[in-house]
Amino acid sequence: MITLGLGLLLLAGAYAVAVIEEWATTGRLRPAAPLLAGLALLGRESLVPRKADRVLFEVAPVLFLVAAVASFAVLPLAPGTAIADLATGALFINAALAYVMVALVMAGWGPDAIYAMVGGWRFLAQLVAYGMLVVMPLTAVAMRAQSLTNSRIVEAQEALWNIFTQPLGFVLFWLATMALAFLPPFDLPTAPGELAGGVEGEYSGVRLAIFRLARLTLVFSLASAITVFYLGGWLGPVLPGWVWSILKTLAVASLMLVGGRYLPRLREEDLLAWAWKLGVPLALVNIFWVGVTLLLVK
Amino acid sequence: MITLIIALLVGAALFGIGLYGVLSQTNLVMIMMGVELMLGAALVNLVAFWRFLHPGAYSGQMFFLIIMVVMALEMVVGFGMALARFRAKGSVEMEEAVELKG
């Protein structure tokens, strides 16, 4: 029952993300547009390029969707309301998100097209950049909660949200999640205007619809992850817990979608250099800071 | 107990396939895949032994982590060699690397 409800919520969330994304891009609020666009995609022919590696080509969008949904599955919406509140939840979400990269590499290699392949391998390099910045701030979060269970992580923020105790980790994690969801200015694998769609370029029809849906799900799931790890999840006055979760998640998602629009796209080597020369040392400082504060405050 | 034996048989099969791969492939990266499979077989055995023989001894899980480190190191060393070789000779086919024979 809970699983079904959360699944529907995830779908609704992905839809909301689609509406907000269009609003942020074109400045027009059209609540029905994603539905129409989705139906139009389903009606169109789904082409398969010549000499495509059929297995990888077919598996990639599905794997992308599965990874995005799996990453949402371990995040609690309210006390006791999660599809699977694993004891290793904070680690599992990393594992699930790593398969986003595998899916994009498959989608890049599968169709036997230059732009797609460049986009796919670019995302692998992007993973090398953001991977550490996802894992290391989460280490600090788990340190404060003394648990990898996501509901425990939320409960540990009862007194003070993590965004206030570890602002550095929050900023790093935010940027890393934006790179993970390849939102601008980190949209290297799709790179409209430069790679002609990149990994998405060769997909059409139903497959493209799955691809887009997976991407929107991923954005919603990551916003939900930021809510759980840094913004106190369901904690909040007056309103019931799940309302707080949804409100915070949507707020984070819209900020993620709007914020990067005004920045120029980063180049691959700049992203890697900044992530490793600046980001990783800062993440270490964050872990050290959290450890010291935990020892001093308790 | 039957579960333990099944897990060990899986480990044995993976080890055999990995050994075949290491010996039969000519490309360095493919050889590394064989090594990874053999290490994977070791992982299966370790987890199975930990689970059924010593569920209270966490040095078993620790050993797992060390094997994982070994896997990562094997990748680094292998790709380091492959890069150097590719720069020098333009291929990583091991049949051509007779001068590396001791």
């Binding site: 590696d53 990888l56 004891a87 290793t88 680690l91 594992a95 790593a98 398969y99 990269m101 590499v105 036997d112 692998l124 990898l148 | 039957i2 579960t3 333990l4 034996i5 099944i6 897990a7 060990l8 048989l9 899986v10 044995a12 099969a13 993976l14 080890f15 055999g16 990995g18 050994l19 075949y20 010996l23 039969s24 492939q25 000519t26 990266v29 493919m30 895949m33 499979l37 994977g40 992982l43 299966v44 199975a48 689970r51 059924f52 023989l53 569920p55 209270g56 040095s59 899980q61 620790m62 982590l65 896997m71 190191l73 990748m75 680094v76 060393v77 380091g80 720069r87 291929s91 990583v92």
Partner: protein
């Protein structure tokens, strides 16, 4: 219990099938991704064996590792897509025999030992407790081993980076 046995057998079979595919397919990217499939099946097998942390760790590590393997394949191979049907193997008979013999010996050992006397009473910790105990093991008795592993990884990272960077003199020579 029976469910666990079935799950272990199923994921084991999947892992073995994928690992056979690794050496049967011509396309190198496919073969790297098939290896990833085998490793994912192993991760699920560990989950079935109730080693939650190890299973999830395996799933996380292998995704990156095998994708990196795929890109190195594409970099180093003449024909990574396997379109030209290039011959990639040697000493087939010897390796086949060695593989079968090695696997059979290991399998025989697994079958011949009397495990009944060794199998412990089932008092497995809950996953939460397992994580805690593993952490205590790492930070307690096995700390030195863990530190050594960490330092070794750091050294190999530095060495790998050094090997990967083309030295200035080499580049200029190459251009001339």
């Amino acid at each position: 219990m029976i469910l666990q046995t079935l799950a272990v057998a199923f994921f084991g079979l999947v892992a073995v099938w994928f690992s056979i595919v690794v050496f049967r397919t011509k396309s190198m990217v496919r073969s790297a991704l098939a290896l990833l499939g085998a490793m994912v099946a192993l991760g699920l097998l560990f989950l079935a064996l109730e080693a939650e942390f190890l299973g999830v760790l395996q799933l996380m590590m292998m995704a990156t590792e095998m994708s990196v393997m795929a890109i190195f394949m594409v970099m180093f191979m003449m024909d990574p897509g396997g379109l030209g049907q290039m011959e990639m193997t040697h000493q087939k008979k010897l390796s086949l025999v060695a593989g079968i013999v090695g696997g059979l010996v290991a399998a025989l050992l697994a079958l011949l030992v009397d495990w009944g006397a060794l199998v412990q009473a089932q008092n497995l910790d809950m996953p939460e407790r397992q994580n805690y105990n593993l952490g205590m093991e790492i930070m307690g008795r096995s700390m030195l081993i863990f530190e050594t592993a960490g330092v070794t990884i750091l050294v190999s990272m530095i060495a790998g980076t050094l090997l990967a960077i083309v030295s200035r003199t080499q580049t200029t020579e190459g251009q001339e």
